[in-house]
Amino acid sequence: MNGRLRSLLPLLAGVLLAATPALALAPPETVCIQCHGGQAGPLGDPAREWPGSVHQRNGISCHDCHGGDPADYANAMSPARGFIGVPAHDRVPEFCGRCHVGVLEDYRQSAHGRKVSEGGAQCVVCHGSHAVREASLDLINERDCSRCHDYGRAAEIRAALDETDARLAGLGEGFERLRRLGADVEPAKGKLFDLRNRFHRVFHSVEVDKVRAETGRVQAEAALLQAEIDAYDRQTARRRVWGGVAVGLLVMLGLVLLQVRHTYADEERRG
């Protein structure tokens, strides 16, 4: 290797070093997680339970519910920055209802809501406080409901909701599948979100007749959303047929060209 080349090495190495890509980057953690995550017992439970919750999956962090400054240790729990600690049992619906407005309305009119000041079930009794579970029919089950009352009426409500809930879940999976194909499903997902919310509001009314009436309306709207998924699937199937034809033609053309090449090769061998 000559001297000129050797003198260029550091420069070349520098350029290549700068061009090498990729580095792991840890996501920033709020001071709430940093502090509570290191604590044992009940004070550390929220930081351990929150990951994997429906709130965490949707980017709702500690300060979104409890207020305070998530970027500043000194003001993380400052009332001046809107910090709210643990709400009292009967204040929980109001606490959650700041975001879940519609649910709060139905809940307050329900048997649960009317009895909340006497210890009746509120949001976290069924959904959990930090490991918040997504609203689904699984929350209505004998083990959980029987903690407070007989399961009979709850079972009746669950039976009325079962098919529709499964259908809405299926629609959600369908739209997610289409989204992963690049389809713009946001408007349809918005409608499904609205429909699911309206449907889940009915859960909180805990009235069998109301549930049955609303279920019929929800099913009709779900059918329209299913039609959108079916239309996209038909379009995808048509595209695949054309794609299959194109791939087949290219492979055939490639094989024909290879045959032509063999002909030339024979000529070359004969000289």
């Binding site: 290549l16 580095l23 690049g182 060209l257 070359e268």
Partner: protein
């Protein structure tokens, strides 16, 4: 047909294109034992051509602005006639190009085609490989999805580990302290103007080097002759070889068809093979998606940085490896090219390949 002949006659009388065609294509002779690996250059030319065509079509509707980029890509995919096809051909095509580039480089390495005063050919090819990687990296950000945003954040974080100039280099790449609209602007300019121009120039230089020095024959078979380095410039001719046109062009065309079939197969039957769910969500600087990973061809670099105790050491190892690869023709100067006669090189070649795959798989699952 008669019209075409008239047009060719018209041009030929003025520019002598028939003579040029006969001399440069029919009269351009390749070694008789030239194999299928030699078609990868033509495959890459075809794929780069397709990228330019689809890129121009995407440019008609794409909006390089942080507030509108994701929506414009959604519009291309869902509203523009055949926009979904153009976009997928472009995005999946980039991955197929990397596959073809790797195969091309590996075949050149295995057959030691860089030997015999072909340093410029190798260096221009190595430059093309890096430019293609830079095009992939800059193009990755343009859809402004969660994947784009965070993968770019990760990638542009790397130069920050370089002592003294690290922060400056990172800010220069991003156009600010963090990835944002200003990063999108400069990556867009690089992706659609600066890098393609450099790529075209380097392709021209690479082809010139290949043609001027002459094709390096495969180091196999009874025709193989070990060659000492010539003292002065020599154009390596292949007397009695096969004409490039039409004899070898049909093989080029056949392999191009197979690669296009592969591309269309992925586009139609596994369109999200290369795209995780985060590629379909709009960028959100406040929400880091879990398990964000770079593209499969950057996984080795991503994992290398995690293996070593300091990012600087990881970057140094990557830089040293790339530098070694770039300078290989200057270091490996023996005349022998037959793999069977180069056991050490072949062992290092396969071990290196194995390590590359293993580190990439590790990076994927880490």
């Amino acid at each position: 047909m008669r019209v075409l002949t008239l047009i060719v006659d018209f041009v030929d009388r003025r520019l002598g294109v028939r003579e040029l065609f006969d001399k440069e294509l029919r009269g351009y002779l390749l070694p008789r034992n030239v194999n299928v690996w030699y078609t990868l250059g033509a495959v890459l030319l075809a794929l780069f051509g397709l990228q330019i065509l689809t890129g121009i079509l995407l440019l008609i509707h794409y909006v390089p602005h942080a507030d509108q980029a994701f929506a414009s890509v959604q519009r291309i995919t869902n509203e523009v006639p055949f926009g979904w096809l153009v976009r997928l051909l472009h995005a999946v095509g980039a991955n197929v190009i990397v596959i073809a580039l790797l195969l091309h480089m590996l075949s050149v390495l295995f057959m030691a085609s860089y030997k015999g005063r072909r340093e410029f050919t190798w260096l221009s090819g190595f430059g093309l490989f890096n430019l293609a990687m830079a095009l992939c990296l800059t193009g990755y950000l343009l859809p402004w999805s969660q994947l784009s945003f965070w993968a770019t954040t990760v990638a542009t974080e790397a130069p920050g580990a370089i002592p003294v100039v690290g922060d400056l280099a990172r800010e220069f790449l991003r156009g600010g302290a963090t990835v944002g609209g200003q990063t999108l602007g400069r990556f867009f300019a690089l992706h659609v103007v600066a890098l393609p121009l450099a790529l075209l120039g380097l392709i021209g230089l690479h082809l010139f080097c290949v043609k001027r020095r002459g094709i390096s024959p495969p180091p196999f078979g009874s025709d193989y002759r070990s060659q000492e380095l010539p003292a002065a410039f020599v154009h390596e001719e292949h007397r009695g070889g096969i004409p490039f046109f039409p004899n070898y062009v049909v093989k080029d065309a056949a392999v191009i068809c197979f690669f296009l079939a592969l591309l269309l197969g992925i586009v139609f039957f596994a369109p999200n093979l290369f795209f995780p769910p985060a590629a379909f969500e709009p960028a959100d600087p406040f929400v880091t998606p879990p398990r964000i990973k770079p593209e499969w061809y950057f996984l080795w670099a991503y994992q290398t940085l995690k293996i070593f105790p300091s990012e600087l050491i990881g970057l140094g190892v990557q830089g040293a490896f790339m530098t070694l690869l770039a300078l290989l023709p200057f270091l490996d100067r023996g005349p022998e090219r037959r793999p069977a006669k180069r056991p050490i090189f072949v062992t290092v070649f396969f071990l290196g390949l194995l390590v590359f795959v293993a580190i990439s798989v590790w990076g994927h699952y880490s």
